[in-house]
Every structure is written in C-alpha cells, then in structure tokens.
C-alpha cells in the first residue's frame, strides 16, 4: 500500500474537457452544474456539460453539449440507452468515443451509465465483461479498490481474474501504486474456504499474469485491507459496499445521538467533533470521487445517485486524473496475454 496519489493537473491532455452528464442523479441539474462549475474554477479542469441547455440554469460560461433527452434513475438500462439516443448519458459517452471529451462523469442511472459506456465506447479487446471499481477508504493509506461493485451479479473464475488485473491497473493509475497487491474476498483466509467460484478463482489467481495475489480476505478486512485491490463478484461486492455504507452511516448517527444526549455529552462534543471531522471527511462518499467502469474503451466515472456539488467536483478530478494517467491503456495491457 502507500504511495501518493497523482495530483490533479491544471490542464487536460490535449486540452480536452471532462463531459459531465448534467441531468444524472437525484440532485440534477442544480448540484451537478454547480459541481461542474466548481471543478472548472477550483481545479482548472475543462468541463463540458451535457444535457438540455434550457434546463441547466446558469452554467457559468461552461461549454454545453446539447442533448434533448434524459434517462431516469428507474429507466431500464439497456432499452433506455437504445431508445433515448439523444440523452445526456448517451451523448456524454459519445463525446468520449468521438475524441471530444477526455472522460465522462455521471451521477445518473448506474446501469444506464454502464450500458452507454459499453455500447458507445466499446469493450477493450480481451475484456470479457466490464466491472465497476469503487474505492474503499483505509486509515492512513490510500483507499483499496473493490471490484466488481455491482456490474456483474454472476461471474466466472476467469472474469474475476480479469477484475484482479483491471483493478491493479486502476490502483496504479489512480493511486500511483507501482505493483498493486490483490486479495480475494471470501469467508476465510484458507484457500479451501468459500464457494466453488471463490475456490476456483483462488487457484487461478495464484498463477495469473500481472497479478500480485496475496490470498483471501474476509469482510471484516475491508476497511483494513492488506491489499490494494479487493476482488469479488458483482453481487457480493455490491452487498459488501452497501453494508459498509449503511454501517458507517449508522455509526455516525449513533455517535451524534450520544453527543446530544445530555449537557456533559454536549460539552464533550464541542471538543471531540472538530477532531472527528477530518475522519468523517475521509470516509465521506462525496469526497471519494465515484466508481470507475473498467474494461471499456474510455474513462467513465459513475458517482452515487445522491451526489452533491462536492461529489461532482471529486468525480471530475478522478476522471481527469485517471485519464491523464493513461487508465485505458493500462487496463488494456493488464488483460493482454504476456
């Protein structure tokens, strides 16, 4: 672990902007446009907003790529991408495909974002199925990369090996880790533990190319990961991720309740809360910057549906940084035969 994250740059490769789906998410377009403006102003990253110009409000002079349709959060992913060809999500993916944008960011319908990226940018040669890589915060180190976080509910061992390879490429691009380590999520450290999928994957990972496999980890290790990359199938990964999010939120709420319980606790809160704030910020999803779809021929960062302006700023920064670090080429090389 360790190693610094590559810092955001003041300019984009080729001067290309990051395409932001202005209509994606529960707080669109207001918070999304506000975040895009902040990203441009605070980070110096060029941004193009994608969506219906008459619905975006004040864009602060940002470039706008018109798109007349919107894919709703509850639209069917596959059919909506086919049906709504002039949607903000589809147009954002096309901007990347056509070389008009460096990367795309959306806080909208996750499945549709994935379908848009897959169908418009295309799959990288050799990739069986794209996977969603999401950062898991760690104390005193860069986050670990968990994948798949929900793109593929059912997986084969060969798919999980590719997730390991792609996840390692992502850890390198995003966190500057030179030789990322990989662990497999299971119900015990022993290779004999787990489902047939886990046991077969363990055997394959021991001999896999481009993978520094360190063995199995359990769910309790997620926040103290011994590896840079945590591999699992999309069903398990999504359950693990949502369990973590819910647990952390519950813990924070419970802590605040205790601090508000009587006068002595309130006095203690005045001392403790400022000290806890940086810790809370480290685990705040808004600051983490979204999940990346790996295995497509372009950079696609998917932010959570309730993203606010700060989350959009983080997602734009991540999209820019990993694109500038050559994420797509790294992933392509990671799955190529040696």
């Amino acid at each position: 672990m360790a190693a610094p994250r590559p810092g955001p740059e003041a300019s984009s490769p080729g001067g290309l902007p990051v395409a932001v789906d202005a209509m994606g998410g529960d707080n669109a377009p207001g918070e999304i446009v506000a975040g895009a403006r902040r990203a441009a102003e605070e980070l110096g990253i060029p941004v193009v907003l994608v969506g219906p110009p008459d619905q975006m409000g004040d864009t602060g002079g940002l470039e706008v790529l018109p798109a007349s349709e919107v894919i709703a959060m509850d639209d069917d992913p596959g059919s909506s991408v086919r049906r709504k060809k002039d949607s903000s999500l589809v147009r954002a993916a096309e901007a990347v495909r056509d070389g008009k944008a460096l990367a795309m960011v959306s806080a909208g319908n996750t499945g549709a974002a994935m379908a848009s990226a897959l169908l418009r940018m295309g799959r990288l040669k050799g990739v069986v199925r794209p996977a969603i890589a999401t950062p898991i915060p760690q104390l005193g180190s860069h986050p670990a990369v968990l994948l798949d976080a929900g793109a593929n509910a059912e997986c084969t061992p060969a798919m999980l090996v590719q997730f390991a390879q792609m996840g390692a490429a992502y850890a390198s691009a995003r966190y500057g880790v030179e030789a990322p380590t990989v662990a497999l999520l299971s119900i015990g450290e022993e290779k004999s533990k787990g489902t047939p999928l886990v046991k077969e994957t363990h055997a394959l990972l021991e001999d896999a190319e481009h993978v520094r496999f360190v063995g199995n980890v359990e769910g309790r290790d997620l926040l103290r990961s011994p590896a840079d990359v945590l591999v699992t199938d999309g069903f398990t990964g999504n359950v693990a991720l949502k369990t973590l999010e819910g647990s952390l939120r519950f813990f924070m709420d419970a802590l605040l309740e205790v601090f508000a319980s009587d006068e002595e606790a309130k006095a203690a809160a005045e001392v403790m809360l400022p000290r806890l704030a940086p810790l809370a910020a480290e685990f705040d999803p808004d600051g983490i910057g979204g999940a990346a779809l790996l295995g497509v021929d372009g950079v696609c960062v998917i932010s959570h549906g309730s993203s606010n302006a700060t989350a959009v700023v983080s997602a734009v920064r991540v999209a820019h940084d990993v694109a500038a670090a050559g994420l797509v080429d790294r992933v392509a090389r990671s799955v190529a035969p040696a």
Binding site: R82, L118, L119, R123, N152
Partner: protein, 98 residues
C-alpha cells in the same frame, strides 16, 4: 420488396445469418466461434447477460442496417430470444419482411 428496403451487398441466407450472429457473439463473449451452435442457450450455455445481448443486437442492427434499410430488432422481442436458433430465426424473418 417494400419501398424503404434496399439490398446493397446481396441477400443473406440462413447460414450467413448464423455465421454473422456466431461471430459477433464470439467477439462479444471472448469465446471461440466453434463453441457456439444453433442450439446454444444465451444464458445457460454462453453465460451471456442482458448487456451482452444488447451489444449483439446493436452489432446486428449496424451490420444488417447497411444491407437492409430499416432493419431493427425490437426490445420487446428480446426476451423471446433464448437460443442462437431463436435469434437466427428472428433475423431471417425480419430480413424477409423488413
């Protein structure tokens, strides 16, 4: 032949439709074309998920749209296509009526 239909590359017979579907599926699923037969089930034999099928549909529309204007696979018909044979039958029928 309907007015909106034209053929640029010559008509496709059933064997050519099967080859087209097989080759596109092999590319999408990263498997050998020889492992795909008409009786292959998308879900059970080929592990093709819904997005893989949509990739196939878009690929077929792009390829066949160059031959037959207006060729389209309707989303509501997708759930009826469970095997490669179903897809071949569907495309052959569509090409005959597109």
């Amino acid at each position: 032949m309907p007015a909106e239909t034209h053929v640029e590359k010559g008509p496709l017979g059933r064997p050519e439709v099967f080859e087209l579907i097989r080759d596109q599926l092999a590319d999408i699923l990263e498997i050998e074309p020889g492992s795909i037969s008409e009786s292959s089930s998308f879900a059970e034999d080929l592990d093709a998920d819904s997005l893989a099928l949509i990739e196939l549909v878009e690929g077929l529309e792009e390829e066949l749209g160059e031959r037959t204007v207006g060729f389209r696979i309707e989303d509501e018909d997708l759930e009826d296509l469970r095997t490669v044979r179903d897809a071949v039958d569907y495309v052959v029928a569509k090409l005959g009526t597109a």
